[in-house]
Assembly symmetry: C2
Homo-oligomer: 468 residues x 2
C-alpha cells in the first residue's frame, strides 16, 4: 500500500468506527490527551491516529471487526502505568482505551468471586472486595490508576505474590474479544472446570497481542486482618534462603512479604527516608523486610516475634527489629519503597529479572563484579521479592556517562542466560524487551508463540510489534 | 487412502519406529498387555496397532516426527487410571506409554521445586517430596498407578484442591514434545516469569491433544504436619455455604477438606462402612466432612475444636463429631470414601460437574426432583468437594432398568446448562463427554480450541477424537 492509500484507508476505517460506535467514542488529533501517548517508561511517545472509547463488549467487538477487515493495527490501553511500553501506540495505530467499560458487576459471596469490567481501576475493585468483607489478593503501587484489564493482560505481580500468586492465580473467568470481533466469553466462577483447553490462560500475560480483555471473574480471599512487619539483618544469601524456608515451614503462606535488600540499596533507602539513621547499630551483609499476616484481627504478633526470637537465638539471623506500631511498620517499608524516588534522584536503568531462588545470591555477586569491571565507579542497587524469585537491579545511568541504556541492558541480560533466568519477572516484554526475549525463550518456544498468534490474530492487528 | 494402503502405511511407520527407537521400545500384537487397552472406565477397549515405550525426550521427539510425517495418530498413555476414556486408543492408533521416562530428577530445596519425568507415579513424586521435608500438594486415590504426565495432561483435581489448587497450580515448568517432534522445553523454576505467552498452560488439561508432556518442574509446599477431622451436621445448603465462608474467614486455607454429603449418600456410606451406625443420634439434612490442617506438628486440634464449638453454640451447625484418634478420622473418611464400593454395589452412572458454589444446593434439589419425575424409584447419590465448586452425582443404573447411561447423561447435563455449570470439574472430556462439551462451552470457545489445535498439530495426529 502506498502512503496515500494507507492514509485513505485509515480515514475510512475511522469513519466506519464513528458510524459503529458513535462520534463521542472516537477521538482524533488534539482530542487525544497526553495520557494516551506513552506509559510510565515515557518510551516512544506518539499520538495514535484515533482513540476509541468503547462502552460495552459489543462496542469492542464491532470496533475490532472493522479494524480486522481493514488490517488496521489496534493497541489496547488501560491505565498506562506499564513499565515495558506494552501499550504505547504508533502514530498509525488506533488505540482503544477501556476506561468507559468500567465497574464492578457483582460480588458473589458464596462463590467468593468478583465480576468486574476491564476498565475498572485495581483500587476500585479492591475497595468493592473489602466492602463485602473479602480481599482481592492483587496489589501494586499503581493501584489508583492501573486497570484490571491491563493487570490481567500483563499478568501483574506486585506486593502479595509470595502469598497469593500473580494476577493469573486470581482469575477464574475471562471475557475476551478476538481480533475478528468474536467474543470469547468464559465467565466461569468455578474453582474446577476441565472442559477442554483453558483458553483464558492464553490471554493472561500476552499483553494484548491475542485479544482484548473486557470482563473477568476474580477469586476473592478472606481478609487478612492483622499484619506485622520486621526488618531482619542477615549474614549471607544462604542465610536468606534458610530463613525463607524456615518461616515457610512454620507458617506457610502467612508470610506476606519477603523483600531482600543488598547493602547499597539499603544504605540508599536509609539515607533517603530515615535521614541516614539505620534501624540497626551496625552494618550487615543483607537485609530482609518480612511481613507476617493473620486472618485473626486479634493476632498481636506474638507468634511472629517468637519465630524471629528463635532464629536470633540459634544464629540464623544477626539482628531483627519488629515494628511495634503502624508508624514503625511504615518507616521500615519506606526504606524498601525508596524506589519511588529513583526517577528523581537517578537516571534509572531498571531490571526486573527472575532466577531460581538459590541462584540469586551468586548472580548478584557475579553481576556486581562484572559491572564494576566493565564500568568502574558505576552505582547499582540490588533488591527484590526474593520469595517470588524476582530480583530487581537498578543501574544509575549518571554513574556510567556516555553508556546507552541499551548497552547496559545487553550486558546484564547476557549474564542472566546461563542461570536459566527470565528477562522479565513481572513487567512484561512490551516494546522494551522484545529484542531480549530470546535470552529467556528458545527458538521452539518463540515458534509456538508465533503459531498461536497467527491462529488467533491472522491479520496481525492486535498490538503489533509487542512481545513477539 | 484405501484400507490396504492404510495398513501398508501403518506397517512401514512401525518399521521406521523400530529403527529409530530400537525394537524393545516398540511392541505389537500380544506383546501389548491388557493395561494399554482401556482406562478405569473400561470404555471401548482396543489393542492399539503398536505400543511405544520411549526412554527419553529425544525418543518421544523422534517417534512423533515419524508419526507426524505419516499422519499416524498417536495416543499418549500414563497410568490408565482416567475416568473419561481420554487415553483409550483405537486399533489403528499407536499408543505411547511414558512408563520408562520415569524418575525424580532433582529437588531444589532453595526454590522448593521438584523436577520429575512424566512417567513417574504420583506416589513416587510425593514420597520424594516428603523425604526432602516438603509436600507435593497433589493427591488422588489413584496415586500408586497414575503418572505425573497424565495428572498434568488432565489437570487432575483430587483431595487437596480447596487448599492448594488443581494440578495446574503446582506447575512452574513443563517440557512438551509437539506433534512435529519439536521439543518445547520451558523447565522454569521461577514463581514469576512474564516473558511472552505462558505456553505450559495450553498443555495442562488438554488431554494430550496438543503435545506430549515429558518432564515438569513442580512447586513444593511446606509439610502440613497436623490434620484434624470432624463430621458436621447441618440444617440446609445455605448453612453449608455459611460454614465454608466462616471457616475460611477465620483460618484461610488451613481448611484442608470440605466434603458435603446429602442424606442418600451419607446413609449409604454409613450402611457400607459403619454397619449402619451413624456417628449422630439422629438424621440431618446435610453432612460435612471438614479437615483442618496445621504446619505445626504440635497442633492438638484445640483451635479447630474452638471454631466448631462456636458454630455449634450460635446455631450455625446442628451437631459435630471431632475425631480424637487417627482411627476415628479414618472411620469418618470411610463414609465419604464408600465410593470405592460403588462399582461392586451399583451400576454407577457418574457425574463430575461443577457449578457456582451458591447454586449447588438448588441444583441438587432440582436434579433430584427431575430424576424422580422422569424415573420414579431411581437411586441417586449426591456428594462433592463443595469448597472446590465440584459436585458428584451417581445414579445407580440398576434402579433405572432399560435406560442407557447415555440417556441419563443427556438428561442431567441438560439441567446443568442454565446454571453456567461445567460437565467436567476434574475428570476431563476424553471420549466420554465430547458430545456434551457444548453444554459448557460456546461455539466461539470451541472454534478457538480448534484454531489452536490446528496451529500446534496441523496433521491432527495427537489423541484424535478426544476433547474436540
Amino acid at each position: 500500500m502506498t502512503d496515500s492509500s494507507a492514509a485513505a484507508s485509515l480515514l475510512s476505517t475511522i469513519a466506519a468506527l464513528r458510524e459503529a460506535l458513535g462520534s463521542d467514542a472516537v477521538r482524533t488529533g488534539d482530542a487525544i490527551g497526553e495520557r494516551s501517548m506513552t506509559d510510565w517508561t515515557h518510551h516512544a511517545p506518539a499520538r495514535p491516529a484515533a482513540l476509541l472509547l468503547p462502552r460495552t463488549t459489543e462496542d469492542v467487538s464491532r470496533a475490532l471487526a472493522i479494524c480486522n477487515e481493514a488490517h488496521q493495527p489496534v493497541v489496547p490501553q488501560g491505565g498506562m502505568t506499564g513499565l515495558a511500553a506494552g501499550a504505547v501506540a504508533r502514530a498509525t495505530d488506533i488505540a482503544m482505551a477501556l476506561d468507559r467499560l468500567a465497574g464492578v458487576e457483582e460480588i458473589d459471596r458464596a462463590a467468593a468471586t468478583l465480576t468486574v469490567r476491564a476498565g475498572t481501576t485495581l483500587q476500585a475493585a479492591q475497595e468493592a472486595a473489602e466492602a463485602a468483607g473479602f480481599e482481592l489478593a492483587l496489589d501494586l503501587g499503581a493501584r489508583g490508576s492501573c486497570q484490571i484489564g491491563g493487570n490481567l493482560a500483563t499478568n501483574a505481580g506486585g506486593n502479595r505474590v509470595i502469598q497469593s500468586g500473580t494476577a493469573r492465580e486470581q482469575v477464574l473467568g475471562l471475557e475476551v474479544v478476538l481480533a475478528s470481533g468474536a467474543v470469547l466469553s468464559s465467565m466461569n466462577k468455578m474453582v474446577k472446570n476441565n472442559t477442554g483447553y483453558d483458553l483464558k490462560q492464553l490471554f493472561i500475560g500476552s499483553e494484548g497481542t491475542l485479544g482484548i480483555i473486557t470482563r473477568a471473574v476474580l477469586r476473592l480471599q478472606p481478609r487478612r486482618a492483622a499484619r506485622h512487619t520486621a526488618l531482619v539483618a542477615l549474614e549471607s544469601y544462604d542465610a536468606v534462603v534458610s530463613l525463607l524456608r524456615r518461616l515457610s515451614a512454620r507458617v506457610g503462606n502467612d508470610i506476606g512479604a519477603f523483600e531482600i535488600m543488598w547493602p547499597d540499596f539499603f544504605d540508599f533507602g536509609v539515607a533517603l527516608t530515615a535521614g541516614g539513621r539505620s534501624p540497626f547499630a551496625t552494618a550487615h551483609p543483607l537485609y530482609a523486610l518480612v511481613e507476617h499476616t493473620s486472618f485473626d484481627a486479634a493476632d498481636d504478633g506474638e507468634r511472629f516475634a517468637t519465630l524471629l526470637g528463635e532464629a536470633l537465638e540459634d544464629g540464623a539471623v544477626r539482628d531483627a527489629v519488629i515494628a511495634q506500631t503502624v508508624a514503625d511498620a511504615r518507616a521500615l517499608w519506606a526504606i524498601r519503597e525508596c524506589t519511588a524516588e529513583f526517577p528523581a534522584r537517578l537516571d534509572p536503568i531498571n531490571f526486573d529479572v527472575s532466577l531460581p531462588i538459590g541462584d540469586i545470591g551468586h548472580f548478584v555477586d557475579h553481576c556486581r563484579a562484572e559491572l564494576d569491571r566493565r564500568w568502574p565507579g558505576n552505582r547499582s542497587y540490588f533488591f527484590g521479592h526474593i520469595g517470588d524469585s524476582n530480583l530487581h537491579v537498578t543501574v544509575d545511568g549518571h554513574s556510567v556517562p556516555g553508556v546507552s541504556h541499551h548497552d547496559v541492558y545487553a550486558f546484564v541480560y547476557a549474564m542472566l542466560a546461563p542461570y536459566g533466568g527470565s528477562v522479565s519477572a513481572e513487567h512484561g516484554i512490551g516494546l522494551l524487551k522484545r529484542e531480549f526475549l530470546a535470552v529467556s525463550r528458545s527458538s521452539e518456544e518463540l515458534a509456538a508463540m508465533v503459531a498461536i498468534k497467527r491462529a488467533l490474530d491472522p491479520n496481525g492487528i492486535l498490538n503489533p510489534g509487542k512481545v513477539i
